[in-house]
């Protein structure tokens, strides 16, 4: 019987030991997701509840809110996004530094919710790419936390080079977002 020894991880592909590096940085990113709360309406109040003592988003290392897009990793879109606000949201997404994730909280942000009206954008995924959708009108804080944990999963398992891949660039281009390349 011949056993074929598998090559050690990281021996080929993106570079020596790149995968372990990927993992370490993925872990770091996952546990230090600084959110930008783009809170427009009801869900924003539930987000405040999530931030405060009973639910405490800080446990995941996510309590450092910053309202400047440059410093955030996670864009949390909470509440109705109207057509008037759409360009603003897109600009905020544009201004964020890579890697960035988007969490769409609440029915309104995901699909427009009960507001199927002339003034409301029917889901923010029309203008920016979304990573995780949290349903609910508004979602309970537990749900928001679960959404965050799903983002953590994504961040953990993301390759360091994903953001440079053609696939990613194409995806951004499909949203008419200027790419850095």
């Amino acid at each position: 019987m011949v056993n074929i020894v598998e090559q050690p991880e990281g021996h080929e592909g993106q570079g020596f030991f790149a995968t372990s590096m990927d993992k370490a940085i993925g872990l770091a990113r996952a546990n230090s997701l600084w959110p930008l709360p783009f809170a427009t309406s009801c869900c924003g109040i539930e987000f405040m509840a999530t931030m405060s003592a009973n639910y405490d988003l800080a446990r995941f290392g996510s309590e450092r809110l910053s309202f400047t897009p440059r410093q955030c990793d996670l864009l949390m879109v909470m509440g109705t996004i109207s057509k008037k606000l759409g360009p603003v949201l897109k600009q905020v997404y544009d201004q964020m530094a890579e890697p960035k994730w988007v969490l769409s909280v609440g029915a309104c942000a995901c699909t427009g919710g009960i507001f199927d009206t002339y003034s409301v954008l029917q889901g923010i995924d029309k203008i920016i790419p979304v990573d995780v959708y949290v349903p609910g009108c508004p979602p309970r804080p537990e749900q928001i936390i679960e959404g965050l944990m799903k983002i953590q999963e994504l961040a953990k398992n993301e390759s360091l080079r994903r953001r440079n891949s053609d696939e990613y660039q194409k995806m951004l281009e499909s949203y008419n977002i200027e790419t850095t390349k």
Partner: protein, 341 residues
């Protein structure tokens, strides 16, 4: 200066630098935990035991984040800003006496990098350079909010440095020296300067809060008004440097306060320890205990008090602190005169 001495100083510098960085790293974590404690929360607890590796997660993330330099920013100054802030923050520690000395490999090693005879002046000078980091960064960002932060920070620094300096002069008059080491060694056991200069201590403490841009004087950052203040446009490790330098500044300020007013490494009953190495190490521990206590007070204030308005801050600086510091100076002078008489 022989080569062994050079080596010794180099090692000491590296050790102090490393300790400063690690302490600053953990101060960010401590701040979050203490904030959580004051707010009935848990604080970060997912990374490692009790969340102890949280700072490394933050650091790792920041290093691998995209650098953005805004199109209209002044590129070189934009990069220079955080660098200045970081360098200035780290070099202040050179004149802090961490202990008297320890004996290692048959040599007596002084626990101070440089015992320059104008240590106090050096600190005051370096701290004033510190504001350049904020000013340059805020100005170069080409963002109005950053500019507001920078302007507020520089005006605040100028006015609070005056009262800081004036309250320092009273101490210098008492001790008759500008060397930090000398000032510390003049406060043996429990004869700390805070007992002779309570008002001076208070003024210096408040000024230190203002110099570090800590609440209630965090005008430069002021996240509910100016979004991020001077570092609004910064991302990645440049932001990391700014945040980091803030914590190093806090650490060093507390070290200076404990040197000047709380007797530095002195503690009651230290004459009973005879072994010089043990004495040195205990002194370092005592020094750190004092510093960490002061840091805790800094954070306590941060999470309890609201912040001042810009003009109120200036009014406090110019109309209350400076006159009080002058009064303190006059009283000190009179007392010294009477004692000599």
């Amino acid at each position: 200066m022989d080569s062994a001495m050079m080596l010794e100083k180099l090692v000491l510098i590296l050790v102090i630098l490393a300790i400063t960085l690690v302490v600053a790293l953990y101060l960010t974590f401590g701040e979050r935990k203490i904030a959580a404690f004051f707010q009935d929360r848990l604080g970060p607890n997912r990374v490692g035991p009790f969340g102890l590796f949280q700072p490394f997660a933050d650091g790792g993330k920041l290093i691998f984040k995209e650098e953005i330099i805004p199109k209209n920013a002044e590129k070189w100054l934009f990069i220079l800003g955080p660098g200045v802030a970081m360098i200035v923050a780290t070099i202040t520690s050179a004149v802090i006496p961490w202990g008297t000395s320890i004996e290692l490999f048959g040599r007596t090693i002084a626990l101070q990098v440089a015992d320059i005879n104008i240590g106090v002046l050096y600190i005051v000078g370096i701290v004033s350079v510190g504001v350049y980091g904020i000013m340059i960064g805020g100005w170069a960002s080409n963002n109005k909010y950053s500019l507001y932060g920078a302007i507020r920070a520089s005006a605040q620094m100028i006015s609070y440095e005056l009262s800081m300096g004036l309250s320092l002069i009273a101490v210098i008059m008492m001790s008759g020296t500008l060397s930090l080491n000398e000032i510390v060694s003049q406060q043996p056991s429990w004869h700390w300067n805070i007992l002779y200069q309570p008002l001076g201590f208070l003024l210096f403490f408040v000024s230190a809060l203002a110099e570090c841009n800590r609440a209630p004087f965090d005008m430069a950052e002021c996240e509910t008004e100016l979004i991020g203040g001077y570092h609004t446009e910064y991302s990645s490790m440049k932001l990391g440097f700014y945040l980091f330098s803030e914590y190093i500044n806090m650490f060093i300020s507390c070290a200076v306060i404990s040197c000047i007013y709380l007797g530095g490494y002195n503690f009651p009953g230290m004459n009973y320890i005879t072994d010089p190495t043990w004495l040195g190490l205990t002194q370092v521990a005592v020094m750190f205990a004092k510093i960490l206590f002061l840091v805790f007070v800094f954070m306590w204030i941060r999470w309890t008090l609201p912040r001042f308005r810009y003009d109120q801050l200036m009014r406090l600086g110019w109309k209350s602190m400076i006159p009080l510091a002058l009064v303190n100076l006059v009283i000190t002078g009179l007392v010294i005169g009477i004692m000599k008489f």
